[in-house]
């Protein structure tokens, strides 16, 4: 069997912040009534994470669960475990109206690391979202657009961000991020 | 009216330009006219002009809520062409284009008609096929256009980048007697000629209601008092829905803001008009040297003559691919106009459910080119009750499913 490879095969860039292809990531879309106890329990059981509230992301170990919409969550796990996660969800939600699909290979993930203000600035150059520290920080999750393509991001911790987008536009996204993070292009908008 | 001529310029130069007459009178409204036209844009003024010129009807008032030519007439990017697809379109747009050829002489007013040629780029295979089809249709319609190949495109437009990374130029539909004209001058020229025929152009006067008796129009209420009339022509572009409501009927029209922008003036670099429908942008160079750029329309109903900011970014981004030099230009001004969109992207020239009320609207993003032809047909419709040029453009065509689909030929907003 062919070996799975991430979209940009580990490409990286050093500028205002470090931008890197974050490698393969398991991703499972779960659709259903996120308010229902059954889904909360299933998500907890399968990922170890609590069901996130509106526009939040929760994490436990190497898993995370992001709120995508009132009826959609995204489970993140190691790439090799996505199918098993789907199967586990199907078992846990037997008889409950839901849909769980492995979408890992439809996506690309980027990791941004560096100065917190610079990191916010790089994202704010591309997305019409409020990236001030009061409005967005670790634990928050935002679906939006980055320039011409849809994407989503969150901050696993201060000074780090993850961006996901469709794999088909991975090169475009990398080019956007590296342009926004080009050396000498700092605006200092979020500097204290 | 004293005629404009080279001699007049010389004469006035010798007397400190003190002898120029006002181009048109600004009278107080009278109590009654045979015909009232609402809207002193190009189309309303042209309608009045041809009522007088072709039918001898001169007891006419043109009523304008703002200043004449201050609507879309003074906000458009002035592209004039007649390379549409359907026969009724070819008839009215080509009539219009041919009237532009002699307009400066007919009106004794320099409208700066510049038949510099209009090029519509084909940047996908679908567009190539579409334009080949249009060129064939135009030949049958007697409209002179042809499909040209990339080397000829490059020869006509040296600043173009044929090998854009995403949308290479595969050819173009070329109409060499198409071009541009000075938009304000068209309105001013018609206004001067109408005034000279004794018509009243009443600015700063809004029509607020249409008075009816027994299903027939008897007059209008305006911000400057009531005015009686036998016939009423509504020619108000983006405000058509609002005026129709005041006359008691409805229209299949959405009003949206359409934008344009111009760059700083630069040395002459492009002497044709280029339209790129796939990437959505078009450009020409004005006599002052500014690059005149047509932008996008907002995706929602709106009456703010401004438009959303992000369209500027989208338009310029699209153009930079095809014209890399645009990336070095500073943009000077941006503005918007409210365009009246129909579902089939063709106009409405029609009687209405109210007897004596006629409507001329739906020109949307592309009616400047139609100004004289539209006025010609509307005048005939109002004078005689029917006009061959207007025949296909009735309000009933929607009910009857006789759409005149120009959504493809119209491409971008122009």
């Amino acid at each position: 069997m062919s070996e799975a490879a991430s979209a940009l095969d580990g490409a990286s860039f050093e500028g205002l912040v470090r931008v890197a292809d974050a490698g393969l990531r398991g991703m499972v879309t779960l659709r259903g009534d996120l308010g229902a106890d059954a889904l909360h329990a299933a998500v907890k059981q399968v990922s170890g994470c609590d069901m996130p509230g509106q526009r939040k992301i929760t994490a436990a170990g190497d898993s995370a669960v992001a709120w995508m919409a009132p009826d959609e969550a995204l489970l993140l796990c190691p790439h090799g475990q996505a199918d098993a996660t789907c199967a586990a969800l199907a078992r846990a939600l037997d008889g409950v109206h839901h849909l769980a699909v492995n979408v890992s290979d439809a996506r690309a993930t980027f990791a941004l690391e560096g100065d917190d203000g610079a990191l916010r600035e790089v994202l704010a150059k591309l997305a019409p979202a409020d990236l001030s520290a009061e409005a967005f920080g670790p634990g928050d999750f935002r679906r939006t657009r980055l320039a011409q393509v849809p994407g989503a991001f969150w901050m696993p911790r201060q000074g780090a961000a993850r961006v996901i987008c469709f794999r088909s536009v991975a090169q475009y996204m990398f080019d956007l991020l590296t342009t926004a993070a080009a050396k000498g292009s700092g605006v200092g908008y979020f500097q204290a | 009216m004293r005629r404009y001529s080279a001699f007049a310029i010389a004469r006035e130069a010798l007397r400190y330009h003190a002898g120029w007459e006002k181009a048109w009178a600004s009278p107080e409204p009278r109590r009654k006219y045979d015909v009232v036209i609402v809207g002193a844009g190009g189309h309303g003024l042209a309608t009045a002009f041809y009522l007088g010129r072709n039918f001898g009807i001169t007891n006419v008032a043109v009523i304008e809520k703002g200043w004449l030519g201050g609507g879309n007439t003074g906000r458009n990017t002035t592209i004039i062409r007649s390379n549409y697809l359907q026969d009724p379109s070819a008839a009215i747009y080509e009539k219009s284009r041919s009237l532009y050829e002699t307009m400066s002489q007919d009106l004794n007013y320099n409208v700066m008609y510049s038949p510099r040629g209009v090029m519509m780029l084909a940047q996908t295979q679908a567009e190539v096929r579409g334009y080949l089809r249009t060129a064939q249709a135009n030949t049958l319609q007697g409209v002179t256009t042809r499909f040209i190949d990339p080397p000829e495109v490059k020869k006509l437009v040296p600043i173009i980048n044929l090998d854009g990374p995403r949308y290479p130029v595969l050819g173009a539909l070329w109409q060499d007697r198409a071009g541009t004209a000075r938009h304000d001058a068209v309105a001013w020229g018609y206004a001067r000629a109408c005034s000279d025929m004794g018509m009243d152009i009443i600015q700063q006067c809004e029509v607020t209601a249409v008075r009816r008796e027994g299903g027939r129009v008897v007059g209008v209420d305006t911000s400057r008092g009531a005015i009686d009339c036998d016939k009423l022509g509504i020619v108000v572009a983006g405000n058509s829905g609002v005026m129709a409501e005041r006359a008691g009927f409805r229209l299949p029209i959405d009003s949206v803001a359409l934008q344009a922008l111009v760059s700083e003036p630069i040395k002459p670099c492009m002497d044709v008009v280029v339209m790129a429908n796939t990437v959505h942008g078009y450009m020409s160079q004005s006599d002052k040297g500014e690059m005149v750029i047509g932008g996008g329309a907002d995706g929602y109903n709106n009456y703010t003559q401004r438009g959303s900011f992000h369209h500027i970014e989208e338009t310029v981004r699209a153009l930079v691919e095809t014209f890399p030099m645009v990336s070095r230009l500073k943009m000077l001004r941006q503005w918007g106009g409210i365009v009246d969109m129909t579902g089939d992207r063709s106009p409405i020239l029609s009687k209405t459910p109210v007897e004596g009320v006629f409507i001329n609207c739906g020109w949307g993003t592309g009616g400047f080119k139609a100004t004289p032809g539209s006025g010609w047909a509307m005048a005939e419709l109002m004078a005689k009750g029917h006009s061959p040029l207007a025949e296909a453009y009735t309000l009933d065509r929607f009910r009857e499913g006789r759409f005149i689909d120009e959504s493809v030929a119209a491409g971008v907003a122009h």
Binding site: R55, E72, R143, P150 | E245, P252, H310, R399
Partner: protein
């Protein structure tokens, strides 16, 4: 530039995250309806200069459809509300009445003051 509050994910969404879906609260006349009803459904549009009700979708966001009430002449937004309704809720109507006493839209009307 319009900014609408998405009632589903709670963000103040910039116009570039959204897609306009046109006139709201349409009754979809189809087979069995009269010619008149079908014509009006397709062509007799609401195109007011003033208070208007529309459908919008948060495309670059949660992906949900919702409703918005706004003024087409000033771009003032009176409020947004759930997609699962055939009429604007009372709170939205009150918000409009507070700003535009005497407003009307189709058969709907605010109180005269």
């Amino acid at each position: 530039m319009l900014i609408l509050h998405c009632p589903y994910c709670g963000v103040m969404a910039d116009e570039t995250e959204l897609h306009g879906g046109g006139e709201a609260h349409l009754t979809r006349h189809g087979p069995g309806s009269s010619d008149e009803e079908f014509h009006d459904y397709l062509f007799a549009k609401e195109n007011p200069r003033g208070v208007h009700f529309e459908r919008w979708r948060h495309v670059n966001g949660c992906g949900k459809w919702f409703h918005a009430a706004r003024d087409t002449a000033t771009l003032e937004v009176f409020g947004t509300y759930s997609a699962q309704t055939t009429e604007p809720p009372q709170a939205i109507r009150d918000a409009i009445t507070a700003r535009r006493p005497g407003w009307t839209w189709r058969h709907l009307a605010g109180s005269a003051k």
